[in-house]
């Protein structure tokens, strides 16, 4: 019994010593590493970075989207409520005088969980365009099991016909002819002409350029206005299209309005 305990003690001391030695080593090496990186920064000051934060504010009829609460009217006077609103934002690009910075990334905006923003680290400077994809690019749709925002546990992946739901809105409307007057729009599809992932692009040329300042956060407020979801390039009436849960013609029709969903409402720099 005694022997066993002392054995454990010895082991503990051994681990402690290893740990302490490791910590000292790590601290020393880290400081060396930091010094080394600073010497690089001296040469090229662009290694300092700033943060870009894009906040998506979901609205309908000028009101914020609140799940299972507010009632909204679409362009055709059809009243509806929303119980789910989720969409992917990916492949973010920042344009800088003709050259484009591909920031990549996959983000899931989800009203239910409060996920409504994304953050990127960028080189300081003036940028004159911002682009992103509403949805998930084709390549990532057929590249096997993903994690993070693209984890199928987020309930945005079709199990029977592989591919991501790019935009999901569920709710209810008296105009809906579906069971329980449901609205169920799972808009997806990545193959060929069925691809609904939509490139969104904002130009800052001629206006104030988008400025990224080192050690500061530039915050862009993007409004996702659902009024434009129903009416814009095409008409989406709840009475005619209450349910769309597969890729194809209906999803493509809904996606025609995607490009008008977003607008920039405010840009501010938080030092």
């Amino acid at each position: 019994m005694e022997e066993k305990r002392s054995g454990i003690m010895n082991k503990n001391i051994f681990y402690k010593r290893t740990f302490v030695t490791g910590c000292i080593l790590l601290a020393g090496i880290t400081s060396l590493f930091i010094t080394a990186s600073f010497s690089v920064i001296d040469k090229n000051s662009s290694a300092k970075t700033g943060t870009l934060k894009i906040i998506f504010r979901n609205t309908a009829n000028g009101k914020p989207v609140i799940l299972r609460d507010s009632l909204y009217n679409n362009y055709f006077g059809e009243q509806y409520s929303i119980s789910k609103l989720k969409y992917y934002i990916s492949n973010i690009t920042m344009g800088n005088n003709g050259s484009s910075n591909d920031m990549g990334g996959y983000y899931l905006m989800n009203v239910a969980t409060g996920d409504s923003s994304l953050e990127l680290t960028l080189e300081p400077g003036n940028y004159n365009s911002l682009g992103f994809l509403l949805g998930v690019d084709s390549l990532r749709n057929c590249n096997g099991a993903q994690t993070g925002a693209l984890d199928p546990m987020n309930d945005m992946f079709w199990t029977w016909n592989s591919g991501y739901v790019m935009f999901k809105m569920e709710g209810n409307s008296p105009a809906s002819t579906s069971d329980l007057q449901r609205i169920e729009h799972h808009v997806g599809g990545y193959k060929g002409s069925n691809n609904v992932a939509t490139k969104i692009h904002f130009n800052f040329t001629g206006t104030v350029p988008l400025e990224i300042i080192a050690n500061s956060t530039t915050e862009i407020l993007v409004e996702t206005n659902l009024d434009n979801y129903w009416h814009g390039s095409t008409d989406i009436k709840i009475s005619e299209l209450p349910v769309c849960t597969i890729a194809g013609e209906l999803a493509k029709k809904i996606a025609l309005n995607f490009k008008n969903l977003f607008s920039i409402k405010n840009i501010r720099i938080i030092p």
Binding site: A36, V40, C142, N143, A145, P152, M153, F157, W160, N194
Partner: protein, 359 residues
């Protein structure tokens, strides 16, 4: 000079991380992955290019995938594992069942196909709806008439098992359990199930000889079946309407995936390998025996279907002798070294004999 310093500092840094890592014990055992490779039989085409592109094959990953494959906890009632419907003695199809049993006495609506040589397929399922082997399990795991579980619940359950934590660490470097790792591990198991040691293969390798009857059957096969059931995989992975009537589930096959009416009633051409063991046949198991399947092609094809395969417009004329010869050739595609390979069997059990099948 400066770069040299930076590199040496970084190397030192990384090495020390390894030393620290080695002395830190998270309690879940070692990470010492042993790489394995997908065996590509001689004369076969290259496997699907992206199958293991982001999923490095290791013995530990394979073993983890195998454990998951045989684990009933992946289903709602704890009873239905992948292996319930994909039984090794039936070349990983469901033995002697047209449809398979899901949780709570449910039935699937399609016949469970055999699982082998999946690395040579670009799409899975009878309708080709699955675009990558890693995401295939999501369907049976969550289908109410198969394993009936939610992905969250599956991950919750296996996270509680220390053995899994050890195995995830052994396969992926740390004990994190998530859906991506689970799916990649299962793909390491299912994607490396290779069946290429039938009598046919031995004949091709010069290690055996067909009987004259089998040889004649091979001639019949080459003349009348091989354009769709293309050697050496015995499928061309295409989708075709082979003249069956629409079934009671109104299963329109490939059309459900593509939304194209030209794909109505088209289903994936199944491999003929191990066909002796994967009965009953067709996407809903409606035809019980190989001779009956051949009779369907000889006389049963419904020819007034707009999407009927052009190769079947005149059905497949064949004498009774040719039919019997063909059956015997198909029997030469049975790979008993595959169905008896203990590497594919559960680690703590044996391959169940079909005679003791509890279904």
């Amino acid at each position: 000079m400066k770069i040299k310093i930076i590199i040496s500092v970084m190397l030192f840094f990384i090495t020390s991380l390894f030393i620290i890592g080695a002395t830190t014990d998270d309690g879940y055992g070692p990470y010492d992955p042993q790489p394995i490779t997908l065996e590509i039989p001689s004369g076969w085409p290259k496997p699907s290019t992206n199958i293991f592109a982001n999923n490095k094959l290791t013995e530990q990953g394979f073993q983890l995938g195998k454990k998951l494959f045989y684990d009933g906890r992946l289903s709602k009632d704890g009873e239905v594992s992948c292996a319930s419907c994909h039984q090794q003695f039936a070349a990983f199809a469901t033995f002697d069942h047209d449809l398979s049993h899901g949780v709570h006495n449910t039935f699937s609506t399609r016949n469970a196909p055999g699982l082998f040589n999946l690395a040579w397929m670009t799409e899975l399922h009878w309708d080709g709806g699955i675009n990558h082997i890693e995401v295939q399990p999501l369907f049976p795991l969550t289908a109410l008439n198969e394993m009936g579980e939610t992905l969250d619940s599956v991950i919750f359950k296996i996270k509680k098992d220390t053995t899994y934590k050890r195995m995830f660490k052994a396969a992926f470097g740390d004990a994190t359990i998530n859906s991506q790792r689970m799916l990649k591990a299962i793909a390491q198991f299912t994607g490396t199930l290779v069946s290429a040691n039938s009598k046919y293969d031995k004949v091709k390798r010069g290690e055996a000889a067909f009987t004259p009857f089998e040889e004649k059957g091979y001639e019949v096969f080459k003349a009348k079946c091989a354009s769709c059931h293309k050697e050496p995989l015995f499928t061309d992975n295409s989708y075709r309407n082979n003249g069956l009537a629409l079934n009671r589930f109104f299963d329109i096959g490939r059309q459900r995936i593509t939304q194209l009416s030209s794909d109505s009633l088209k289903f994936k051409v199944p491999s003929l390998r191990n066909a002796q063991l994967t009965f009953p046949y067709m996407h809903d198991g409606r035809i019980y025996s190989i001779p009956q399947v051949i009779d369907h092609y000889r006389t049963g094809i419904i020819t007034d279907q707009p999407t009927l395969d052009p190769l079947l417009q005149n059905r497949i004329p064949m004498t009774n002798l040719e039919k019997n010869q063909l059956v015997y050739f198909i029997y030469t595609l049975t790979d008993s070294s595959f169905t008896k390979n203990t590497r594919y069997a559960p680690s703590n059990g044996s391959i169940t004999d079909p005679g003791f099948d509890k279904h």
